[in-house]
């Protein structure tokens, strides 16, 4: 043993060598900004490489979060006092962070971005911006045109009103052979309001009033919309979103409401399936709007961030159309919030993608409210009761209204 030298010295020498190697690779003036986001590294890295070319003195330490545990990871990092400098935050998570003053108020730092980006409603609370919209997501109506034809419906003209949708759903369902008219979400309470509210929003309904102090959940518009939504149930396949997507892929469902990710998936997994994407149907030809759910991925800077200025610099870079567009091209999940992206030539030859861009114009985001998590839970719970036939549309929404009202009444 002794002939091989002192192992303690050897370890110390190795540690010193590693430390020196680490120092040698980094010049002292370079600064690091920690960025957590959800896109695959293969998609985001080219964008960050471009940022590095523009800002060679800044190193971006990027980390990919997963949709399953990203939220928990961010919460744990904040609790530990070591949040990332910049993070991609989903619109459903954002209100809680805003309510708890976890994100810094960016309003006065980004007045120039106001007109360059869409989707501010998901990032603003009481007129102040706590994040910068980066990518916007929405849902549209997927139509199986083969089933439309088999049911004797005009495949080139997807349903544009509730009545047309209702009739088409019933006729496709009548085809039998395991084919169902409509894909209705169930068994995953957390998404129910996202599927129902588009009909309510399109009908002039809402969740809270414009001052965010009063529930309007039990409005006649919402009740009418829920009655219509429930009328589709007898002709629907009830399952979780991914199973509905799969059923649509296999040609077993006439209509389903889903996101742009299906546009990429369907040609590869179901090359023989003929489908169209259409705007959400509106209440009637001369009434309402083809509303949908608007989600967003926004960029937020935490109070505990150590490099706030760099984080803002990176956020400004990321939201630019030319930097956000490659991310959409690579992932196909959400569209750039940059206003200029709608005119991108990419959409010219892609009618499906274009429908989603169009749908974004009438998509509505849920309110940014400090108690949004509780409001969402109440709404989803009551919608589930209605979908399972335990309550009528009116009873469910009145119950939700009473609960949300009580919740808002407790607000300081």
């Amino acid at each position: 043993m002794g002939s091989r030298g002192n192992p303690v010295l050897a370890v110390a020498a190795l540690a010193l060598a590693l430390a020196l190697a680490g120092c040698a690779g980094r010049s002292p003036e370079k600064r690091t900004v920690v960025f957590w986001q959800f896109s695959p590294l293969t998609a985001i890295q080219p964008v960050l490489d471009r940022f590095h070319r523009e800002h060679p003195d800044v190193i971006v330490q990027v980390e990919q979060l997963t949709w399953q545990s990203g939220r928990e990871k961010i919460v744990a990092a904040i609790a530990a006092g070591r949040p990332p400098d910049l993070a991609e935050i989903g619109s459903t998570f954002l209100p809680g962070l805003v309510a708890d003053s976890t994100l810094i108020d960016l309003t006065d730092s980004i007045p120039d971005l106001k007109s360059a980006l869409r989707g501010w409603s998901v990032a603003e609370y009481r007129g102040r911006a706590y994040a910068i919209p980066w990518m916007l997501g929405t849902r549209a109506l997927y139509v199986n045109t083969d089933l439309m034809k088999r049911a004797g419906l005009p495949a080139e003209r997807p349903p544009a009103t509730w009545a047309e949708l209702s009739s088409a759903v019933a006729r496709i369902d009548a085809l039998g052979g395991g084919v169902r008219g409509f894909g209705m979400n169930s068994g995953e309470r957390e998404v129910l309001f996202k599927k129902f509210m588009p009909f309510a929003w399109g009908n002039g309904g809402d969740i809270l009033d414009s001052t965010l102090t009063r529930s309007v959940v039990a409005s006649p518009q919402n009740i009418e919309a829920l009655r219509f939504y429930l009328s589709l149930k007898p002709h629907s396949l009830l399952d979780r979103q991914e199973m509905l997507d799969e059923a649509f892929t296999r040609g077993r469902v006439g209509f389903t409401i889903s996101g742009p990710w299906m546009l990429r998936k369907l040609p590869a997994s179901a090359p023989d399936l003929h489908f169209e994407v259409a705007l959400m149907p509106k209440p009637a030809a001369g009434r309402g709007t083809p509303a949908s759910f608007a989600g967003a991925e926004a960029l937020g800077i935490f109070r505990g961030s150590r490099e706030k200025a760099l984080a803002l610099q990176l956020a400004r870079f990321l939201v630019r159309e030319e930097n956000a567009m490659p991310l959409y091209v690579a992932t196909g999940n959400a569209f750039p919030a940059a206003v200029a992206a709608a005119q991108d030539t990419y959409f010219v030859s892609r009618p499906g993608d274009r429908v989603f861009v169009e749908q974004l114009k009438t998509a509505v985001a849920p309110p940014v409210h400090p108690r949004w998590v509780d409001i969402e839970e109440i709404l989803n719970g009551e919608l589930e009761e209605a979908i399972y036939g335990r309550k009528s549309a009116e009873a469910a929404l009145r119950s939700a209204d009473a609960q949300i009202g009580a919740l808002l009444g407790k607000q300081p």
Partner: protein, 291 residues
């Protein structure tokens, strides 16, 4: 044992002990402390002492009692079935003359898979237009809403859990059976004992310590059910699969009520501890009675 050997032993145990302290003892104690605080992980600066209010809130919460009831149904529904099946499978494996290795591996296979993977496979299996309903459709049975029907969602998860657990426990019981001397069995046969009598009077008392271990282990695991619910149902439909651990996860990470979630966790810990103690005493008393 020489001082040097003892030193080496302690050094060998050190990494494990350190991990146990850092990832086991400290979080356990921290959670206990937190359970007496109102703590929002997003605003740790506003954390305040509220005494036993979190415990009082849990005990007065219908959602807590509902989750406890669901968890209890899961435990009571899976434990005896898993134990009986594992015992039966172990008995069959023990009697095999040929192909034991193959069947042992086949039975143990689910235990090698992560529960997330198993849950994902069963999610496809249980889908409205999934494999299971496809098979039923071929024999004329209408589609069953396995995970969509509030009456069937929990039993469906229970069936999956039993399938995933039986193999592991069967191998443990089989290992216990293998330690039974062959001579003892032959002597019993020579005395004219039948297979059932041998099983009841010789094998069962012999494997009782293993059974106790299986019962305790399965009880703890069943009370902790989370992954299955997280992947398959998220507590729904209509809260029919809302288990205690999933409930505390929602309170901690969706409502940011970390102190309250810790209080629920400690109530669960206390409950499981009491049940384990009762089980041990019960089985030990029966063992004494049998002796």
């Amino acid at each position: 044992m020489s001082g040097r050997a003892r030193g080496a032993g302690i050094a060998g145990l050190l990494p494990w002990s350190l991990c146990f302290v850092v990832f086991g003892v400290i979080p356990l104690l921290a959670a206990l402390v937190l359970s007496f605080y109102d703590m929002n992980p997003l605003r740790p600066d506003l954390t305040r002492w509220i005494g036993g209010a979190n415990y009082a809130r849990a005990l007065g919460s219908p959602a807590f009692w509902h989750a406890l009831r669901t968890t209890a149904i899961f435990v009571v529904g899976t434990l005896p079935v898993t134990l009986a099946l594992a015992y039966g499978v172990a008995a069959l494996l023990g009697r095999l003359r040929r192909g034991e290795t193959f069947f042992r591996a086949a039975i143990f296979f689910p235990a090698t898979l992560s529960m997330v993977v198993i849950s994902l496979v069963f999610k496809s299996l249980y889908a409205e237009q999934g494999l299971l309903n496809g098979w039923l459709g071929r024999i004329g049975v209408p589609a069953v809403h396995w995970l969509q029907d509030p009456r069937l969602a929990l039993p469906s998860i229970m069936v999956m859990d039993i399938w995933a657990s039986v193999g592991y426990y069967a191998i443990l019981i089989l290992a216990g059976r293998k330690t039974l001397p062959v001579e003892q069995l032959e002597a019993a046969r020579l005395e004219g004992m039948g297979a059932l009598e041998i099983e009841r009077r010789i094998v069962l008392p012999h494997v009782r310590p293993v059974l106790l271990f299986v019962v305790l282990l399965n009880t703890v695991r069943s009370f902790q059910i989370f992954i299955e619910v997280f992947v398959l149902t998220r507590g729904g439909p209509l809260d029919s699969t809302l288990t205690l651990v999933y409930h505390l996860y929602e309170r901690a990470f969706y409502h940011f009520e970390m102190g309250y979630a810790c209080a629920i966790a400690y109530i669960l810990l206390l409950l499981v501890g009491l049940i384990l103690l009762a089980q041990r005493r019960l089985i030990a008393r029966r063992a004494l009675g049998a002796a």
